[in-house]
């Protein structure tokens, strides 16, 4: 009873907080000129304009493609490096002690600017700089997954005479699946954050390109609209796609 009451109060406070923030935004947006802060009405109008303009969907599609390509590329490369260190332990120090910390501390903006100098503006520049940011996340996660595999399970596979590839397909890959999924989830969230910088300086299409045009024209409503779309997309995909999928995956693996 007390718990239900607290739950109700928490929900109410959260909803009141949301309404209060919208009210503050509305009032400030009403007082200040739109180039400083467009109000919620102005942003909603631009959002609708965005939805009905096919040209904007080209940018949205390009951004989504950049994210998917970078996440896929980083998981393949990061996963391959983690597997290399796992199967050939002489590479452990090189991969986990040298390459991964270096990539992890190298600035994402640095990759973007270097990629622009090397490859010019375009989709490849965006995907390359995003992937360089994401690879260390993939290495760390896949390594975590490989280290959590029960060595006795591998030993059992070996004693039943499974070949190396069969052991990988039938034991290691299924055991890695939850970690691969969480890698996709983390990389997806991080990539949306890094995407705008990559597209702003290195892209010829996408939300970042729109951002750049909006910044040059002082088109703050468009800047805020793109931010709203990204915040909503990241929040909704994590809450309604990745979270339930991960819960189902965990339940499936616990049941095994």
């Amino acid at each position: 009873m007390i718990r239900d009451d607290l739950e109700r109060r928490r929900r109410r406070t959260a909803n009141i907080f949301t309404l209060a923030m919208l009210a503050v935004w509305f009032v400030v947006g009403w007082i200040e000129p739109p180039y400083l802060l467009p109000g919620p009405g102005n942003v909603a109008e631009r959002l609708w304009g965005f939805v009905i303009d096919p040209h904007m969907w080209v940018h949205a599609g390009a951004s989504l493609l950049h994210v998917i390509a970078a996440v896929a590329g980083s998981i393949v490369i990061g996963g391959a490096l983690a597997l290399l260190a796992y199967y050939l332990p002489v590479f452990r120090l090189a991969v986990h002690g040298r390459l991964s910390p270096f990539l992890n501390s190298f600035s994402g903006t640095g990759w973007v600017l270097l990629a622009v100098l090397w490859f010019g503006l375009g989709g490849f520049t965006v995907v390359f700089s995003l992937a360089m940011v994401l690879i260390p996340f993939a290495i760390i996660n896949v390594r975590q997954g490989l280290e959590s595999i029960d060595p006795e399970l591998i030993e059992m596979g070996r004693s039943f005479g499974r070949s190396g590839f069969k052991r990988f397909r039938l034991i290691i890959l299924p055991a890695l699946t939850p970690f691969l999924f969480s890698t996709v989830r983390i990389c997806f969230g991080v990539s949306w954050k890094a995407l705008l910088t990559a597209e702003l300086f290195g892209g010829d299409k996408g939300f970042g390109r729109l951002f750049n045009l909006a910044r040059q024209d002082y088109d703050t409503p468009l800047v805020v609209t793109v931010i709203v779309i990204i915040v909503a997309a990241v929040y909704a995909s994590d809450r309604y796609l990745f979270e339930p999928a991960q819960a189902r995956l965990s339940a499936h693996y616990e049941a095994l």
């Binding site: 009141i16 600035s107 100098l117």
Partner: protein, 254 residues
Amino acid sequence: MKRSDLANSVAERIIGEGLPLLFVFLWWLTARSLPSFILPGPIETGATLLQLFIDPAFVGDTLISLARVVASVILAVILGGALAALARYVPSTAYAVQRRVLPVLNSFPSVGWAILATFWFRPDSGSVIFVETLILIPFCAIALMQGIADMDRELLEMGASFSRSGIKIAWKIALPMLLPYVMSSVRIAYGVGWKIALVSELFGVDHGLGYLMLRAEVIGNTAMVFASCFAIVIIFVAGEKLIIDPLARRFAVH
């Protein structure tokens, strides 16, 4: 140690230390046949990197970026801690913090803050610190929320039975229990802070490594772009090894 283990360990060390050397050698070899604005060699980049730390014309930019990151980390820990404490000690606000403030701050693109800051403020250190702090707050709040949740309630209750002074209990019991989490949030914020420092210095400001890097990219000074990135790696590693690691050991739970 068995002979084969020793051989493997030596091989691992040789490959581990050899990889950076091989990388530098290949870099040098490739750079020889390419113009400097595409790929400067390791010697040219090293000289530029040295300039960032000793040349008075550049050292100010390096120090100002460092000062901005440190200020943002301190502010983010304070504000993140305040949010975490609010969610814990005013239970009705928990969802407002956990399901409204943090998810929005967490998914807000950093370059979005940077561009909005150029519209809202005069571009200077204040606007950079504003951007960096807002990006770091969710990382600190999440780490400190965990710390508050993990505090030993029985120890706090025992403290309350010995003293009525809330300040004394907070200072002598709660804070020491929380310090490892504070250090972990400082570590996370410091790492992320350097990653996003460049983004927040790209628009409007006329000092800092981000400004230097963007200017270098525009004039095709690729050595400076590389050097700025390496300078960040060096300062990040030095800060972690020389300050954060000893502090974390000092405040670790024994």
